[in-house]
């Protein structure tokens, strides 16, 4: 198992750090204020080949592994959490195809997703909630050589901008949300598929979050991933593989806020000296440093374990499932704590929009909520301890 970063990963980190600082950070505040999806960022990440870091080489990806992806997500999220999320969502939305897709499906969809020509989204959550699968209503009824989708999804990241969406739907409602579900590949523009309400959010404000509406949406049967009844298993494994991405985003937010607060504390003078000289401030920074380092180790270890696993439908061990849930839960809790303390270090300035830490604090909150709330993560972890 990999422990230290490879030379390539170090250079990737340096490169993405520089790109983030030169090209992403300058517009971060404005994008947050506007709250509108930013296609220039998509172009930038396409040009620099950041969408396909963890995609297989045979489908146009870099085949650089999950840890490389997470390093890039982390570095981008340091300056703009929505930017880090953008490349991570490509992985999330595509994972069902990588895990359960057949050769034709992979050939058809992966290359344009690897290059970023197409954007991906994963559509699971319904009004009943994201984790209460039993309450799901979105249905897919077989009709000849296609399925007819009816229902809606909410809070779908990239929902309004994605070209390729992997959608969880019930093929056999009598069997319920667990046993009667499947995952379908839906393309933007398929008749009967439309985008509904866009969410106006507290944080990650320029990341697109939308409602998806399916009204007699006809999806070719060849777009079914795996088989009917496999949906729950595909969805769970997708989330197991995707949680480190959110952990990476959270870690980046935390590290960005910490670095900003540290530099500020060394510059800001009060009572005749930099506020860093006061233990009330420096101890906060020490605690941030401890938690971020611990979070990073847990996450990198998780990535090192996951990138050795085959991306197929084989079962994960309880230890593997637990690692991914712990990384997501811990990194996001650290992000919330660190960003809150960073605002405190900056005092009144930290509370204003002139400084980025209040944005980071707003951005951090979602990482405790989406891709399974941290309460659900604890449930997942506890289940592996039974």
């Amino acid at each position: 198992m990999q422990y230290t970063l490879t030379e390539e990963q170090e250079l990737l980190r340096e490169t993405v750090r520089r790109l983030a600082k030169e090209r992403v950070e300058p517009g971060a505040r404005e994008r947050d204020e506007k709250g509108k999806f930013d296609w220039e960022m998509v172009t930038l990440f396409r040009e620099n080949d950041l969408f396909g870091l963890d995609f297989p080489a045979e489908y146009g990806g870099s085949d650089a592994g999950m840890l490389s992806l997470i390093i890039a997500v982390e570095e981008l999220s340091k300056v703009d959490a929505s930017a880090g999320l953008l490349i991570d969502l490509q992985e999330l939305g595509t994972l069902p195809i990588m895990l359960a897709g057949n050769e034709e499906q992979k050939k058809k969809y992966l290359p344009k997703l690897a290059s970023g020509e197409h954007l991906a989204a994963f559509a699971l959550t319904e009004t009943s909630g994201g984790s209460d699968v039993a309450g799901f209503r979105c249905q897919a009824k077989k009709d000849g050589d296609s399925y007819i989708l009816n229902g809606s999804k909410i809070f779908i990241s990239n929902g309004g901008v994605a070209d390729v969406l992997t959608v969880y739907a019930l093929t056999n409602p009598e069997k319920g949300g667990h046993k009667g579900a499947a995952v379908f590949i839906v393309e933007k523009g398929m008749p009967g598929f439309s985008v509904g309400k866009k969410e106006d959010k507290m944080g990650i404000r320029w990341s697109d979050t939308a409602e998806l509406i399916f009204e007699d949406c006809r999806v070719p049967a060849e777009n079914l991933l795996g088989a009917e009844g496999m949906g729950f298993h595909i969805m769970m494994k997708t989330l197991d593989f995707a949680r480190p991405g959110i952990a990476g985003q959270a870690l980046g937010i935390a590290a960005g806020a910490y670095e900003y607060a540290l530099a500020y504390a060394k510059e800001r003078v009060a009572f005749g000296q930099p506020v860093f000289n006061f233990q009330g401030v420096s101890f906060k920074l020490a605690d941030m440093c401890i938690r971020i380092e611990a979070a990073r180790h847990l996450l990198y270890k998780t990535c090192a374990v996951y990138q050795e696993l085959p991306k197929d439908m084989s079962r994960l061990s309880p230890e593997q499932i637990r690692l991914s849930a712990m990384a997501k839960c811990f990194c996001s809790d650290v992000a919330m704590w660190v960003t809150t303390e960073a605002v405190q270090v900056l005092g009144g300035y930290g509370y204003t929009r002139e400084f980025p830490v209040e944005r980071m604090m707003r951005d951090a909150k979602i990482t405790q909520i989406y891709e399974g709330t941290n309460e659900i993560q604890r449930l997942v972890i506890a289940n592996t301890l039974k």
Binding site: E8, T15, S62, S68
Partner: protein, 256 residues
């Protein structure tokens, strides 16, 4: 077309310079980068190669740590790299240029590019010296290069305007800011870079003796600028404040 890029590794532009106990520049923990002007040269070489075909070879003088910078330029798309470690405590522009010229002459070239200066010592001598040793024309501070059959048309910055010059190839051209916007290496490029050849040489490999390359300039002392003292605001009515100002200028600042 064979393009040589002369490259130097320098301190990061944001590095905080400190001196060690011996009064030397402290290199501990400093982030190192490709000299930004050399990075323009690398980018331009890649663009010329993409348009006209050929090979881009990086040549650098320095310690083993320079491999990182070379690896980065290889990741951008250069084909191979040569690093010559002079194994000397201190080098000057003469040393560097002598070594580079010898290395380059062994490689063969149609065009030699480099930054017009390095951001650390800022001497702006090395590329010009290499041209002199190799008996090549040199065009400094170019902001645009067009390659035509056997010649280059270069636009360069001059006081208050631009100058367009034509030069026969081979020639040495040095990059100024504005020449291009360097690309970032992609992960694919980074992964390929490891497989690209990086030759490490010493003076003997080039047939040079330490004497032939010995520096002619010796640094006597490094010192940091004095930290700026805080400003002073004179308060009170204008006539009194003016009087206090004149007094301060005469007695404290000693400028009148």
């Amino acid at each position: 077309m064979k393009i040589i890029v002369l490259m130097k590794q320098t301190f990061d532009t944001e590095a905080k310079i400190t001196l060690d106990g011996q009064g030397k520049i402290n290199r501990q923990g400093v982030n190192l980068i490709i000299n930004p002007y050399d990075e323009f040269a690398v980018e331009e070489a890649l663009r010329i190669k993409e348009k006209h075909g050929g090979e881009v070879v990086l040549v650098s003088v320095g310690a083993d740590s320079v491999q990182e910078a070379l690896r980065q330029a290889l990741a951008m798309g250069a084909d191979r790299a040569v690093l010559i470690n002079p194994e000397m405590e201190e080098v000057d522009e003469f040393t560097t240029a002598t070594i580079l010229a010898r290395a380059v002459s062994g490689l063969g070239y149609d065009l030699i590019l480099g930054g017009w200066r390095a951001i650390d010592d800022g001497s702006a001598q090395v590329a010009g010296r290499v041209a002199e040793i190799l008996d090549l024309p040199v065009v400094n501070q170019v902001t645009k290069i067009e390659i035509e059959a056997g010649k280059a048309v270069a636009t360069r910055d001059i006081e208050g305007g631009n100058e367009v010059v034509e030069v026969s190839l081979p020639a040495v051209l040095t990059a100024q800011k504005g020449l291009n916007e360097p690309r970032y290496p992609t992960m694919k490029g980074i992964m390929q870079a490891k497989k690209k050849p990086m030759e490490k040489k010493n003076l003997a490999d080039l047939g040079l003796s330490a004497d032939q390359a010995a520096p002619k300039v010796k640094v006597l002392e490094y010192f940091l600028p004095k930290p700026r003292a805080a400003g002073k605001i004179l308060e009170g009515e204008v006539p009194e404040a003016v009087a206090a100002l004149v007094k301060a200028l005469r007695e404290e600042a000693k400028v009148i």
